[in-house]
Symmetry: C2
DNA sequence: GTCCTCATGTAAACCGTTACATGATTTC
DNA sequence: GAAATCATGTAACGGTTTACATGAGGAC
């Protein structure tokens, strides 16, 4: 019954109670990297969760004209969240605009494509270094059972993902920039950092 | 004006003309891994693309009661596609249900989590070996300018992505399965195949 | 005769974004 | 005094999924 957005809200409230406003800031970039939502989606969803008895709220006088509502998980909500976590995820189609562009890249001007992938590369490098910073200010391998484990594990995934993306951008730039000065640079970078086809081959079959 | 779905259709038609039905099979799993759509979305979009003069069609008598329509790109459509390819992609939020579950994983039973990540791991391994097979039946590094380049580059991305995902699943299973017999197995697997934090560190800052 | 593939469409429901709407408090 | 932050909501729109609707031809 509860939507994935609903579980995202429950997952955040499981850490500590928050207002709808705080939820919406937590679920917008650059904080909410793996599930985002606007306040216009969060407020109605909170109302639904209250109706389903998965969250409750207490009203405290806020700065604005309306009362501030501090939402927290109910026992029912926590139980539902716990159950949902270990259920296999819905298979939702991957829609990746960069990969789609790549599929049609054979039609486009190589110089412009290089510019596009350089921009992407920079963006992913910026994200990676931000993740690395976050990791640095975090205890190494927190115990399962503490919320820090969730933070640590999602960060690990994020760092791994950015490395994958960076390797791919570098490879693309290398492929597109044949017989040019950037060839040597990119060859070095992409060959070492990421599993190339050839390096992976001996492991299986 | 044209939506991303529109460009996805243009990108497929740029290879060779197809009917709406053929488009819908091409854009459903397991073929269309990076942009999927149902026929109920494709047929109206094709009508819009025809109205925008980006595709044209010729009717041939089909098996059913209605004529089969073979769509192909117009010069205008090809030009629009070429332009779109090198434009920076819209930043669309990442919504990853597995990462969201991971964020809340500290609440769940480790044994059940291991089961979940093992299933995920298997699915990604299956995909990877299917990709590897496809790569094997493909010329090494096709020239930019031929459609084979698009196939090769998207496959490279897919293989890199699956490797990232596999490494992450293995790491998670290793983290969850402390003081158990599976610890040794997973330590070996994840440490070698994928960049751990520590291995990446000396490169930057 | 039933099921599967080929073939094209429409309608309702759902999810998410953008825009509309209001207003107090704090900071510059 | 203007702008940013805190705070909560609704409405319109666009994209996606699911369901409805039809029907020929071939395989079993």
């Amino acid at each position: 019954m509860t939507s994935t957005l609903g579980y995202a809200i429950l997952a955040i409230l499981a850490r500590h109670p928050r207002s709808g406003y705080e939820l919406s800031t937590a679920m917008s970039r650059p904080l909410g990297y793996f599930w985002t939502a606007r306040h216009s989606q969060i407020h109605p969803e909170l109302q639904r969760l209250v109706a389903a008895r998965q969250v409750s709220f207490e009203q405290v006088p806020g700065p604005g004209p309306q009362d501030k509502k501090i939402y927290s998980l109910t026992d029912e909500g926590l139980a539902a969240l716990r159950q949902w976590v270990v259920e296999p995820p819905q298979i939702r189609p991957e829609r990746d605009e960069m990969v789609l562009k790549t599929y049609a890249a054979w039609l486009a001007d190589p110089a412009e494509l290089i510019r596009l992938f350089r921009d992407q590369l920079e963006a992913h490098e910026r994200r990676l270094s931000s993740y690395e910073e976050q990791r640095a200010s975090m205890p190494e391998a927190p115990a399962h059972g503490s919320p820090a484990f969730g933070n640590y594990a999602t960060l690990w995934c994020g760092i791994s993902y950015e490395n994958h993306r960076i390797a791919w951008c570098r490879w693309m730039i290398g492929q597109l920039g044949t017989d040019r000065d950037l060839l040597e640079k990119n060859d070095q970078l992409s060959a070492s950092l990421y599993p190339s086809w050839d390096a992976v081959k001996p492991s299986e079959s």
